[in-house]
């Protein structure tokens, strides 16, 4: 018996990279077959916990033993699809699967309120399918495979957004579908042009063959198509138009999950293509990617935060704030230094925690008062003290106040900027953080210092099943503000790996 278990474990551990994707992929149709919300939730949650455990194991293994190569189906690359796990994608895998698990724990009560009973199991089916796609994009070492998983995650997220209660959710989902498909098709064109020139789809092979082809037009065009396509999926200014409505009208759990993970995974793919496949020298010395990313990033930081200030719907405000935060991440990428890439990855991680906590808190509020508009939230501070605690912690983290995760992000971002001798950028980062202070303060002020609107019943706290995950996420913001070993060591190792000493 023991021998059987040992051999089973050995078998499973040899196939971890595949299981990372296969477990949630199998769970999705099971959720559909389950037919009932409760059963579907158990299946989805189990799969997501398993995915988190696998991601944690992979992160541990890659951090200590180096890169893991896995041949899908036993077909050796370049004929077969290769899965490659290194510290860069193990870090993202861990973030995505952990956030999915916490959000799934948060979901049942929230979904029961926001989605009609007949389609609740479909929510779990789509959710776990979206997780599959995001994990697949991250784990694969094959350029075309990225496209396939990108579409799996995109199609399921369109459906998830359309589940939102208001009819605007439908138009938001349709708008996202059109823009997302254009982005994915741009990416597909880029991969096709690369295949035309290099004759391979394997990322490592592409990396080896591109230096000889650097001056060829198709490779330049491929680079442009891939960058624009991914920028669309990552909602980089000015390609962010789909994002505010999508996050504002999606069900709360969906907003929390997508805001924390979906755009981050696209940014990871951008990092992977820019640094691993095309190479930093090609992108930053031969081509002006530095300015092509820096200019929209700075505009996003200001335009996003500034627009956020005037939003009446807080979910929409948080969506605009996401656009600004994506600006910080692309700013860090545009520095093309190991400090910059590390700062980008750290902020990807920390911003995931911040936005998941804030959107979950909005879910709690929506559960009680049926709205996330600011005028309806007046005076909620006394009635929902724990939810407010979560909002304040995550809000402080968003501003980058010391002892929170957001401070660590800003600290590494500012250091990377100073290292690049761009002191004026530090000024801009500080200024745009002030704008964040305005919209976070506006929320806190309304909830604590204004009287509740007449006629609204006194709202209590949301159920524990929603409150605990929200507080857990808020707590993570403090924990990772104090103990930075995990994100910082992973991000620095990933940055060294992505940059490979290509730039001085």
């Amino acid at each position: 018996m023991n021998g059987l278990i040992t051999s089973l474990l050995a078998y499973l551990s040899a196939h971890l990279p595949a299981l990372q994707v296969v477990v949630p992929l199998v769970a999705a149709p099971l959720c559909l077959l389950a037919g009932r919300a409760g059963l579907a939730w158990i299946i989805a949650f189990t799969a997501s916990v398993a995915a988190t455990a696998i991601a944690a194991t992979l992160a541990y293994l890659t951090f200590h033993n180096g890169v893991i190569h896995y041949d899908m189906g036993g077909w050796a690359p370049p004929w077969g699809i290769e899965y490659v796990v290194d510290t860069a994608n193990a870090f993202i895998l861990l973030l995505v699967s952990a956030i999915a698990t916490v959000v799934l724990a948060f979901s049942p009560a929230s979904i029961a309120k926001e989605i009609r009973p007949g389609s609740q199991h479909l929510f779990y089916c789509m959710f776990i399918l979206c997780l599959t796609g995001l994990l697949g994009i991250t784990v694969t070492g094959d350029a075309f495979n990225v496209f396939v998983f990108l579409e799996i995650s995109s199609l399921s997220s369109y459906a998830l957004i359309a589940l939102g209660g208001q009819r605007k959710a439908l138009t938001a989902a349709f708008q996202y579908l059109v823009m997302g498909t254009i982005g994915a098709t741009f990416f597909l064109i880029g991969v096709g042009l690369l295949y035309m020139m290099t004759g391979t789809l394997n990322m490592a092979d592409m990396q080896a063959r591109i230096p000889a082809l650097q001056d060829s037009r198709p490779v330049l065009a491929a680079f442009a198509f891939i960058t624009v396509g991914l920028a669309l999926k990552a909602a980089l200014f000015p390609l962010h138009l789909w994002l505010p409505n999508a996050y504002a009208y999606a069900p709360s759990a969906v907003s929390a999950f997508l805001a924390a993970t979906a755009t981050k995974v696209s940014l990871y793919v951008l990092l992977r293509f820019t640094f691993t496949i095309f190479g930093a020298k090609f992108a930053f010395l031969d081509l002006p990617l530095h300015w092509a990313l820096l200019a929209p990033a700075v505009i996003a930081m200001f335009a996003g935060s500034f627009t956020a200030i005037f939003q009446r719907d807080i979910k929409r405000m948080l969506a605009y704030s996401s656009i600004a935060q994506i600006g910080y991440i692309t700013l860090a990428i545009s520095l093309a230094s190991s400090a910059g890439i590390a700062a980008a990855l750290i902020h990807i991680f920390n911003h995931g925690l911040i936005k998941a906590a804030l959107f979950c808190a909005m879910g709690c509020i929506f559960y009680r008062i049926g709205s996330t508009r600011i005028e309806n939230m007046a005076g909620l501070g006394q009635q929902m003290p724990w939810t407010m605690t979560a909002i304040i912690i995550a809000g402080l983290s968003l501003l980058g106040v010391p002892l929170t995760a957001g401070f660590i992000s800003k600290w590494y971002l500012v250091q990377a900027t100073l290292q690049a001798d761009l002191w004026w950028l530090v000024l801009l980062i500080a200024l745009s953080s002030m704008l964040a202070l305005v919209y976070v303060w506006r929320l806190v002020e309304t909830m604590y210092f204004k009287d509740p609107p007449p006629g609204r019943e006194a709202a209590g706290e949301a159920p524990l099943s929603m409150l605990l995950p929200t507080l857990l996420l808020a707590g993570a913001n403090i924990y990772f503000g104090l103990d930075t070993r995990l994100p910082v060591s992973m991000a620095e190792s990933a940055a060294a790996l992505l940059l490979r000493g290509q730039l001085p």
């Binding site: 075309f144 579409e151 199609l155 009819r167 439908l170 989902a173 579908l177 254009i182 096709g192």
Partner: protein, 119 residues
């Protein structure tokens, strides 16, 4: 010059379809027309891939002692996947259009904006 343009006629067709599809997506307000444009846009990329696999004087990639030169089947296989993705996107898009029509009573973009502005 002219010869080089004619030699790459497959790319010209792909570019023409791509731009036509993209134009329809941007310029048309009817949601179904937008989806049709999106389809044309995607199809142009399918063509780009499929024609890329053609090898001059190559036959279908079936092993036979009489032939030495084969076309490359991989782009075709890739595009099979992309076609499936395209169908799924269209199906989902049309399903959304049906739901939009049910709740708004219109599928014209300007009227949808108007309806949302009022509520």
């Amino acid at each position: 010059m002219l010869q080089s343009i004619l030699d790459h006629y497959n790319y010209w067709i792909a570019i023409f379809l791509m731009m036509a599809g993209f134009y329809i997506v941007v310029a048309r307000g009817n949601l179904v027309k937008k989806l049709v444009g999106l389809n044309i846009f995607q199809t142009s990329v399918f063509l780009l891939y499929i024609t890329m696999g053609k090898v001059t004087n190559g036959t279908a990639p079936i092993l036979d002692s009489r032939f030495q030169v084969y076309s490359n089947p991989i782009p075709h296989v890739l595009i099979l996947t992309a076609i499936v993705v395209g169908i799924a996107t269209t199906a989902l898009g049309l399903a959304l259009v049906v739901r939009i029509r049910e709740s708004y009573g219109t599928i014209e973009e300007d009227e949808l904006d108007l309806a949302d502005g009022e509520t």
